[in-house]
């Protein structure tokens, strides 16, 4: 039954691209510290700087604007933490201590923002509409002289909704604030050019685009105030201490190189697979709703709520059939609250508990989608058969 192993969780992480794997294996013996002056060090340095150039080119940045970091979370923590520094040494940050972000950011932004409040910052959270788009009028009404930073994710990890970062950035800059976008789910999936977007900071990560885990990059526009989160070394021009993760960095560079080649043709294919999946679900299962924006959305991401069924049980029944998905249900998160993203879009809590995210990638095939469409309807039916959600009229009688 579970002979087939199919992976519909690419927004969580992706398998290594074979070319990335090859590159990393070939570099395994390059152990020199890029900071060392001898030949071992110089070899590593040359490779790291070549990688930096590749990553910069991929997003339209200059080489010196790329800071290699340990994860997307680290990059996001770094940017937010810049803006509540009370030190008089630290240029414009201290005077403008309001941060605006959204209700649908990744927890690494939301929890950092919460922590900054205890350090004296004011944080305001933008609402989103039912498709997950922020309201530009609300943003305009919140922008004022106290706002130092606006941080809006480019593409949402749970529902795939894409924001208009270029327009948001223009508004933010007119107000004299800095703009950050968490583009972890966007870079490598849709065209991202930092000049077109105009952003001051941009976060990206390797493992979402077939690169290794434990490495990401932060774009910091030249001339923008900056303060390292991790201190104690001159690496990354003093912007991020710690000996470079050379293998990871080479993996990241190879990953973006492959994305540049494969991404253009992939978009249409993924969009087709998503349509097949969505239509297949809509035609075989009733009482469902699609979450996220109908058009401005990641091509490989489909988020669906199934009425009357709890998400963790769907996830685990699918797992038994070899299918990997994720859910916005509270039970799967270890907390008692369902997905904050879905709740922010106004989805009813019951529907949030019953949500499943299917995220596809370069290796997803039509055959896999068909297998999923074969298994899913009977899985939902099985759970609905044992669900209390369909007991009509009996509820009040039963409870007393």
């Amino acid at each position: 039954m579970a002979d087939m192993k199919v992976y519909f969780d690419h927004n969580a992480t992706t398998p290594l691209h074979p070319e990335v794997k090859k590159e990393m294996i070939a570099s395994m013996e390059m152990f020199g510290n890029p900071s060392s002056m001898h030949a071992f060090g110089r070899e590593a340095r040359a490779n790291v700087e070549h990688a930096r150039q590749q990553v910069a080119d991929f997003i339209g940045a200059k080489e010196q604007e790329i800071v290699f970091v340990g994860s997307g979370s680290e990059a996001n923590n770094t940017v937010l933490s810049l803006f509540v520094c009370a030190s008089s040494q630290c240029s414009p940050c201290s005077k403008r201590n309001t941060i605006i972000t959204t209700k649908i950011e990744h927890p690494c932004v939301l929890e950092t923002a919460e922590c900054l409040v205890h350090r004296g910052a004011t944080v305001k959270y933008l609402d989103v509409d039912r498709y997950g788009k922020i309201d530009l009028d609300q943003l305009a009404s919140l922008l004022n002289d106290n706002v130092g930073l606006v941080s809006v994710m480019m593409a949402n990890n749970e529902i795939g909704t894409i924001q208009d970062i270029a327009t948001i950035t223009r508004m933010v800059h007119e107000n004299g604030a800095y703009m950050h976008t968490d583009a972890v789910q966007a870079v490598g999936k849709l065209p991202v050019d930092v000049r077109t977007l105009g952003v001051d900071f941009l976060t990206m990560s390797a493992h979402k685009i077939y690169g290794p885990k434990g490495v990401g990059a932060l774009f910091v526009k030249q001339g923008i105030p900056y303060c390292p989160l991790i201190r104690g070394g001159h690496q990354e021009h003093g912007r991020r201490a710690g000996t470079e993760n050379t293998l990871g960095i080479l993996g990241l560079a190879k990953a973006v190189e492959m994305r540049a080649i494969e991404m253009p043709a992939e978009e249409e294919r993924l969009l087709h697979l998503k349509q097949v999946l969505q239509q297949g679900i809509e035609s075989s299962i009733d009482h469902i709703s699609i979450n996220g924006h109908p058009t401005d959305s990641l091509t490989g991401t489909l988020n669906v709520s199934f009425e009357g069924v709890e998400g963790e049980s769907i996830l685990l029944y699918l797992d038994l059939e070899g299918i990997a998905v994720s859910t916005g249900s509270a039970c799967a998160s270890g907390s008692l609250d369902p997905s904050h993203v879905l709740l922010a879009t106004g989805v009813d809590a019951e529907f949030a508990h019953g949500s499943i995210r299917f995220s596809m990638g370069r290796d997803t095939t039509l055959q896999e989608v068909e297998y999923l469409l074969d298994v899913l309807p009977r899985t939902i039916q099985k759970i609905r058969n044992m669900s209390t959600a369909y007991i009509k009229g009996g509820l009040h009688a039963a409870s007393r």
Binding site: E310, C331, S335, A349, M386, S387, T388
Partner: protein, 203 residues
């Protein structure tokens, strides 16, 4: 430690999840002598338990259920429905969440919350049976009070923890996990801690 490819759940739990026992088919509960419903869909878990009773012997002859819930809720209620059959109403009423968890081969800490609705719905079904059969005097309120809703920690659990050596709130949390999720029960738990310390140790 979790091994590669292993579930976060025990094999018994997995088996009950894959092949749940005694699911109520359809919606009709007319054939049953007691019906209990707990939880709600908004919170992400709801449970219905129905029982048939041998009225001469006060023994539960059948127990079926339905749930909107996760794997732990499904498996624990499946196990519970097997455990109660053939027991007296009294014995069934007193089955604790702990016994169910043991029968399942243990539950991860963050899943205990999900597994308790089955027992609650069973007790509601038993009370419903008493009401229907004109034995209102036997309807029992919860004999134990749940203090920590998240981890389902009762006043009895807190008393046990004190007897086993907990003297501070932190020690109480270490032993019972109470207040480790939402933390709303801190004040009440601390008061009970002091009470039981006083009762048992004069402290």
């Amino acid at each position: 430690m979790l091994q590669a490819g292993e579930w976060a759940y025990s094999e018994t739990l997995k088996e009950h999840f894959m092949n749940p026992k005694n699911i109520l088919q359809g919606e009709n509960t007319d054939d049953f002598d007691g019906v209990g419903m707990e939880g709600n869909l908004q919170c992400g878990d709801q449970m219905m338990v129905v029982i048939k009773v041998d009225k001469e012997k006060d023994i539960i002859t059948d127990c079926q259920w339905k749930t909107y819930g996760c794997a732990s809720a499904i498996a624990s209620t499946s196990v519970l429905s097997e455990m109660v059959k053939g027991r007296t109403i009294e014995a069934a009423f007193n089955i604790s969440p702990k016994e169910v968890a043991q029968e399942l081969g243990g539950l991860p800490d963050n899943k205990i919350h999900c597994s308790v609705l089955g027992d609650k719905a069973l007790r509601a079904a038993i009370n419903n049976y008493y009401t229907r059969t004109g034995q209102e005097d036997k309807v029992k309120q919860e004999q134990v009070k749940i203090v920590c809703q998240c981890m389902n920690i009762t006043d009895h659990d807190i008393e046990d923890a004190v007897l086993e050596g907990a003297r501070t709130y932190l020690e109480l949390q270490e032993r019972t996990k109470c207040g480790t999720v939402c933390g709303q029960c801190k004040e009440e738990s601390e008061a009970l801690l002091e009470k039981y310390k006083h009762i048992h140790f004069g402290a």
